[in-house]
Symmetry: C2
Subunit: 456 residues, 2 copies
């Protein structure tokens, strides 16, 4: 038989616990602040939004948090996901590098998002919740929660950013097939939405606005909670099955990565692949370079400020310390909608401040160049978000060729591009341009960051 | 651990040979006739269209045909595909039936089609061919050959039925991502296309017309061959990895199907799952009911005539004996584009004549009802074609409930619906209507079947 191209783990090797990086960091991340009192929030402050089990995960410093059996049972439908050795891509690049990719596109929703959607739906169901409100930009997260809601018998209400709602009717149909209700945001269903519409009737919406709407619904209704698809600690935690599986699969290949690459929007798929490797570095001294790739048009890690900021535009969320471009920053419209967020997960930001993560920004055309090269070699068409990770991995592989060194490169192919073909159509038609933001607008958004008392 | 929901085969269990039903049938299928001489065709007659290795497979009566190692190497990227036990669907239906489904949507193109596309690309490459012309309706086949062509370095030219070309730009972008060239048919690139356009400038095209165009290109160019995605013996042969794997996976589950269900358009995914079970019945007396589900709007098996007919509208192909609605029959526009073909694979037709296969026709709305119920229980959104198999399986499971009998039902979920969400949008908007054909037009199409000398 030829050299292996696929490493599959037996179902029995599905991780039994999520890995919590907070247990191994040399210092704890800064506290989350109440936007009114500017004091650290306690579990009760978050109780209107989340079931207590998820709040406890949010603040936990336990290294391992057991995955409930009903969640593992759903995971087992598509997990462990395959790890591929990209031998055909290596050949096309004429590189001595060993390129591996973990493929999360095999999930029912086509990305890594169900890893946390299923967990969140389970804990809400367990707490007797009947309805969950959420937001979605590109649609990956809304699809995933719609899927998870269908399985656990929870109604799902998705505020979909207006511009995506209009441009991506198929994503909407996908969510509706799972029984979710999908509303264009800003909407007339919330106080905040009506406010925005009064000021700008033809608003395109934004992730920040949609978050405000979903949070408002959850905060004002007893039977409804809120769910977020990235950024929060418990969301990142649920994604760590990715990296844990990858470690076991690379053992099968008798290899270990020199470099781990992921794309970053809110930070969850990146944390999912990277945190278990960072943990192994901190605990066992296993050396690894961890590389976050972000869009040049929304570069929170490379151009943002590490500061306290709101997670939403309506300023209803608590304040978290993170790399942020400012909650009023409006990135230009580019195709990786899942990476168009002004902030970065606080835990990812903290790890970056601790020097555990490197970051790099790429323009979207360069990322699509890489995505198409990958598709022709490996047969999988990546999501625009994933193209960023592909670009990062290919550039590292090219560096190996130039330096004449064989390194092991692992990247997370976090989703397929089946619902993003308009982006590829634009790319082939030469309509995909590298828009950038206005430096003055960025400066203004950063100047508007909330003031936090000294000593916090 | 809970009861298993997924049966995975180790890579080492990937079949080493395709299974050829012709070896086990009690009588051979009728010969293929040359359209000019009305005499049985020989291998040389087909040589302008196919490499000799595929022609020999077309006429082979060997039971096992070895799968070349380079083909297995590509297969191993997504094969063996998973077999699922649909426990959540069983629960939703309150049925004592054991429902299993083989899921072919995990392939790079999202359906079973790459099983033969990869094989055909390999044999063409081996024969020194540089270019392949083909047709596509819904786009599944074109996508699969585009993928396979990219892997083996063969140029792929796809004639895409005009109405699909206009309605499904994302399928086209998907093919182009793999480097294929996609042309709306009827086109100005062929003599036959220009003829059709002269007569009907605003023609929507049809699969029959697109086949004629692709065949013409292959027949008139030395460096170009033709590839078909269904109907032919060698195509069905390549799909038998599906049923072979299913048999091994059901052994893991310590079960064997009472009923095997597949949807039928040209017949290839159906043959893929069913032929190995029919072979086991013929050789070892293992009893099984085999059920083909077809669209009521294009019912070749249930309403067609078993007769010699052309495979295309331009009458360039040889004549094969099959269940046909007549090569001039134009089915109404419905959403399972992969099932809109006037004929049925000769080998499937022959098996039906031998009493080895039952057939049933469903309207499309009933199939989408089933598809949505399946999606909400199992988390996978099926292709419109696959919804027919889902409907058949659900009805059999309901029968089990009514009769109070537990039977094992196996069906082929031949592809996902990610590129077919317009159909679901129409379904939810109440716009999906059950169009049917005109009985007079069917009678005329059948009256126009070619006359074949007696005694053939």
């Amino acid at each position: 038989m030829s050299d292996p191209i696929k490493y599959l783990l037996d179902e029995s090797k599905l991780p039994k616990a999520w890995y919590n990086l907070a247990a191994d960091l040399p210092s704890p991340p800064p506290p989350v602040l109440h936007p009114g009192t500017m004091k650290p929030v306690g579990p009760d402050d978050l109780a209107p939004l989340f079931p207590m089990s998820l709040i406890m995960q949010e603040v936990s410093t336990e290294r391992e948090i057991e995955i409930p059996e009903p969640v593992r049972e759903v995971y087992r439908q598509w997990r462990p996901t395959p790890l591929f050795r990209a031998r055909r891509l290596e050949k096309a690049l004429e590189t001595p590098a060993r390129i591996y990719y973990k493929y999360e596109g095999v999930s029912p929703a086509g990305s890594h998002k169900p890893n946390t959607a299923v967990a969140q739906a389970f804990y809400n169901k367990e707490a007797g919740i009947r309805k969950i409100a959420t937001e979605t930009g590109a649609g990956q997260w809304g699809s995933s929660l719609a899927f998870a809601g269908a399985l656990f018998g929870i109604e799902v209400l998705v505020f979909m950013v207006r511009v995506s709602y209009d441009q991506k009717p198929y994503r909407r149909a996908f969510m509706e097939t799972f029984g979710a209700r999908c509303i264009a945001s800003p909407s007339n269903e919330t106080h905040y939405g009506r406010q925005v519409l009064a000021a700008t009737p033809d608003s395109n919406g934004s992730l920040g606005i949609a978050i405000s709407e979903a949070v408002e619904i959850a905060a004002t209704r007893d039977d409804t909670k809120y769910a977020l698809g990235s950024v929060l600690n418990h969301v990142l935690l649920h994604q760590t099955v990715i990296g844990q599986e990858a470690i076991a699969q690379l053992e099968m290949a008798d290899d270990y990565p020199d470099i781990v690459v992921g794309c970053t929007g809110g930070g969850s798929n990146f944390a999912g692949i990277a945190f278990p490797f960072i943990g192994a570095k901190l605990r066992h001294g296993r050396n690894v370079q961890v590389l976050a790739i972000e869009p040049a048009a929304c570069p929170s890690l490379t151009r943002g400020k590490y500061a306290y900021d709101f997670g939403d535009t309506g300023h209803m969320t608590p304040l978290t310390k993170m790399h942020t471009l400012g909650s009023t920053f409006m990135p230009p419209g580019f195709h990786a909608g899942g990476l168009r967020y002004h902030g970065m997960a606080p835990m990812v930001s903290h790890a970056r401040e601790l020097g555990l993560i490197d970051a790099r920004a790429y323009t979207q055309r360069a990322c699509f160049d890489a995505g198409v090269q990958f598709a022709r070699a490996e047969g999988i068409v990546p999501a625009p978000e994933a193209n960023h990770a592909v670009r990062g991995a290919i550039d590292e592989a090219i560096r190996c060729r130039e330096e004449g060194v064989s390194r092991a490169i692992l990247f997370n192919l976090c989703g397929h591009g089946h619902f993003d073909m308009q982006a590829y159509t634009d790319y082939f038609a030469g309509r995909l341009i590298d828009q950038t933001y206005d430096e003055n607008e960025l400066a203004m958004a950063l100047a508007g960051l909330p003031t936090v008392p000294a000593g916090v």
